[in-house]
């Protein structure tokens, strides 16, 4: 009975708006003259209202009909965040086709795989670069028929039998409105909650990318729920700068934007993101930890160049913010004097700093994707920026857990999002069930079945647990990476690696130890941070390799590792993961060498295999090791570098089990 009621409520709650095009039309009526999209072009923010956006989208949809697009066709969309490409997605939905945003920096071969896998008949590409890539691989794409491009530069002389300019196609659509309008209305009218809304390819740390099919129900329900959770409104502004092919961007810039009717702002180019962020001053903002980290680094580097008085003032007030800023944000009680002091700081330091960062107006900010360092997280929160964490994946249409206002911490990912059920299996793996659970992996019933069971429970592949007391979820690691040390204690490399990566000097860390008696680690230094440090300390270096092998760098890193060991030793479950020996790698782990994915996640197995000699050396106790490594340059040529690396022993604290044994 109650379930029925809830169901009835939920369909009422969405007002029978069963598709993105339906939401778009509602917005065009309700918010006709309000800004829907902005893009900075030619140095000025160009703006489209919701009714203008509707006109753009509908003429494009009509244009696609003139090209003979069919219901169920796949339309690949390749390019950086631009209003035109967001409209393309909605236009594709209007004609009953499925938009498939593709990572624009994928190589031609990766693109060929994705386009061939879904059998895309249409491609909408941003510019010549993308058009060229598709033309290069079109022999491998039997279904490919038409390509629409946005920027005509360099494309004038191309063969235009299968190539169409975006605006010209719209003009064509407008001219043939009468002939196709009825068809367009019919197709848009046929869209239901079960129609496919979008298909997104997962990046895949292992194997080929998988096409995740999301229905209108998935997208609209999750958008609605997450909007309610954070009380987002029609007057929000967001900056759309994360890859369009990523589920997060689709939910923020399409799902939630359409549901609320808020404004999506597109930067002028990738390099101008920081300036554009400042100009727009978004109220709702998402960024992976790396973005926050680089912003903080910039602030700190610039502060070092400031005068003595300013530095003193900055330090004094940042210390105060650290003390009370987070508490004030969470609504805890703070003494009147501290409050006054914070208000002063806000006037002179925090406010201007937030404005410079472009975060002055942020009401709700999220970070996800990777663990965020507590220091970094605290820095932003102490300034009064409501930065929170969420945990999600493509298969869940993003949201699995969210941090409610006032319950924000660096080491948890929050409570289950509205309408999301979570259970933790004995193995420690997290399962969830929600209205956002994906329909299927395209053309891949086996993977679908192994990920999602008959009752719609989805395996996340992550291990975690609910913290007692707060009821917040904590993620330990990928379940396949969690193992056991030789003596049976739990081994969770990511847990330790994250602690290491929180140091600005350390860019990447890979910890080994599964099935062994102790843990060892590879470290990648961060060239920017360490290089800066070297400059200030008059340490000359000619290359990454030389800097990575510098005794003083090793000294510093050793200090970090020992500190991490102390912190790891405090965790009763994972104290066995302390690092006994480490080395600093002579090269940066790189996606071109296959050591990382394109989304910068370490491919553990590849690294372990490629640097087997180094792992062995860490375990056999030798003091140095010589090695030669093959590297791939950006243009595909190969070379090799050789190096002699120093292996260092690290102090380890006695662990719980050893203590027990000793007693």
């Amino acid at each position: 009975m109650r379930e029925e009621l809830e169901l009835a409520q939920s369909s009422q709650a969405t007002d029978g708006l069963m598709s993105i095009p339906a939401l778009m039309r509602r917005n065009a009526e309700r918010f006709a003259g309000k800004a829907a999209y902005r893009e900075k072009e030619f140095g000025i923010w160009q703006c489209w209202t919701w009714s203008e956006a509707r006109e753009e989208i509908e003429t494009l949809a009509l244009g696609l009909l003139t090209l003979g697009i069919k219901e169920g066709d796949f339309v690949a969309i390749i390019g950086r965040n631009r209003p035109y490409l967001y409209w393309s997605m909605v236009a594709a939905q209007m004609v009953g086709a499925v938009p498939v945003p593709v990572y624009k920096d994928s190589a031609a071969e990766e693109m060929a795989y994705v386009l061939a896998h879904c059998g895309a008949r249409f491609v909408i590409a941003e510019d010549q670069e993308q058009v060229d890539k598709v033309i290069d691989v079109q022999d491998q794409l039997p279904n490919f028929e038409h390509m629409v491009y946005l920027d005509p530069r360099g494309l004038r002389k191309y063969d235009h039998t299968a190539l169409h300019q975006f605006q010209k196609l719209q003009t064509e659509g407008r001219a043939q409105r009468l002939a196709h309008e009825a068809e367009l209305e019919a197709r848009t009218g046929r869209l239901t909650y079960d129609s496919t809304c979008v298909m997104l390819y997962t990046s895949g740390t292992t194997g080929k990318p998988k096409g995740v099919v999301l229905s209108n129900r998935n997208v609209i329900q999750t958008s609605k729920n997450s909007v309610d959770f954070d009380s987002l409104r029609a007057d929000e502004n967001i900056l759309a700068y994360l890859p369009m092919a990523w589920v997060g961007d689709f939910i923020f810039s399409v799902g939630q934007a359409m549901w609320c009717g808020f404004c999506v702002n597109c930067p002028e180019s990738e390099d101008t993101m920081v300036t554009d962020l400042r100009e727009i001053g978004p109220t709702y903002f998402f960024a992976p930890p790396a973005v926050f980290e680089s912003q903080l680094t910039n602030v700190m580097i610039r502060m070092e160049d400031a005068g003595r008085f300013k530095q003193w003032l900055f330090r004094k007030y940042m210390a105060h913010a650290k003390k009370v800023g987070g508490k004030i944000l969470d609504g805890h009680s703070v003494g009147p004097l501290d409050r006054l002091n914070y208000a002063l700081g806000n006037l002179f330091i925090y406010g201007p700093l937030k404005d410079t960062l472009g975060l002055g107006r942020v009401r709700v900010g999220y970070t996800a994707g990777e663990a965020i360092g507590p220091e970094l997280f605290e820095f932003y929160r102490s300034l009064g920026i409501n930065l929170k964490q969420l945990y999600g994946q493509t298969e869940a249409t993003v949201f699995i857990t969210l941090q409610p206002n006032g319950e924000v911490r660096a080491d948890t990912v929050g409570v289950p999002a509205p309408e999301v059920e979570i259970k933790i299996e004995d193995s420690g793996e997290i399962f969830y069930r929600s209205p956002g659970v994906f329909v299927e992996y395209l053309n891949n019933p086996e993977s679908t079945a192994s990920t999602k069971d008959a009752e719609n429970w989805v395996a996340t592949g992550d291990a975690g647990f609910f913290e007692e007391g707060s009821g917040h979820l904590r993620i330990i690691d990928r379940i396949k990476d969690v193992g056991k040390l030789a003596d049976g204690r739990m081994f969770a490399p990511k847990f330790v690696e994250n602690k290491l990566k929180f140091y600005p000097d350390i860019l990447e860390a890979v910890v080994f130890g599964n099935g062994r008696d102790r843990c060892v680690a590879f470290i990648n230094i961060d060239l920017k941070a360490v290089g800066n440090w070297a400059e200030r300390n008059n340490i000359a270096y000619a290359s990454y390799q030389e800097l990575a092998g510098h005794p003083r760098v090793l000294e510093t890193i050793q200090g970090h590792v020992e500190e991490v060991n102390r912190s790891v030793a405090e965790d009763p479950m994972l104290s066995g993961c302390q690092i006994h020996r480490f080395l600093v790698l002579h090269k940066e782990l790189d996606a071109d060498d296959g050591e990382m994915t394109r989304t910068k996640k370490v491919r553990r197995v590849v690294v372990a295999d490629k640097f087997k000699d180094l792992v062995d050396a860490l375990y056999d106790g030798s003091k140095t090791v010589s090695t030669t490594t093959e590297v791939t340059y950006e243009d595909g040529r190969k070379g090799s570098i050789s190096a002699t690396l120093e292996l260092r022993d690290v102090a380890v604290l006695p662990t719980l089990s050893q203590q027990v044994a000793a007693e």
Partner: protein, 273 residues
Amino acid sequence: MNQITPDSYVTADGRTIGGTVMEMKNITLRFGGVVAIKDISFDIRQGEIRAIIGPNGAGKSSMLNVISGFYNPQEGDVFYKGQKRPPMRPYQVARLGIARTFQNIALFEGMSVLDNVMTGRLHHMKAGLFSQALWKGRAEREEVENREAVEKIIDFLEIQSIRKTPVGRLPYGLKKRVELARALAAEPSILLLDEPMAGMNVEEKEDMSRFILDVNDEFGTTIALIEHDMGVVMDLSDRVVVMDYGKKIGDGTPDEVRNNQDVIDAYLGVAHD
């Protein structure tokens, strides 16, 4: 006027090359007793990319300076659009629609990229001192129009992210691009590039080549360039003039020039008599 204008033709990559727009006839340029250019004649056709190459000291830059009006040759004439060009000051030449970049970058280091490129619009600003000072009517309208034109070029050369950056803070490769932007801002019909790729790494060279081709393709600008990198020259240009010791030793398509014995000698080094 006895000039023969050759028929226009279409290149393999689909560009239309028109008749002669500029012709150098028997140019000789001396500095005191030194003969920098000795009796050189060649032409530049509408819409083509014309390269001038040669070893160090061959007189390439001098030749470009003659075209841009910086030097007036002692002998010989320059014809522009069929008209004999009288000796001119460089700014007069610029008004004819000939813009240039310099071998060793000549930008205003303390000014932003935007302001630097705006200076390229000088000839498109007609408002007088008084109206400029009051910032009313024509002056304001012109500024807006010119800014629009400049923004299109900034977009074209993909330098949006450094729009407000002082030029002095930019790396070399970007400065070169800003210089190109300033030259383009003048909306020239002929663009002279003095070693646009000198001192660049491979990637920067590729970018610059792309931009040069795009400028030629998109705006139909005729381009005359001096370049040392033979690979680049052969890929980019429609026709090449080869100079050595102030004399012209070759002229033709890249393939013709590559197989010219005099050119091979000049580059490999053969004793001069």
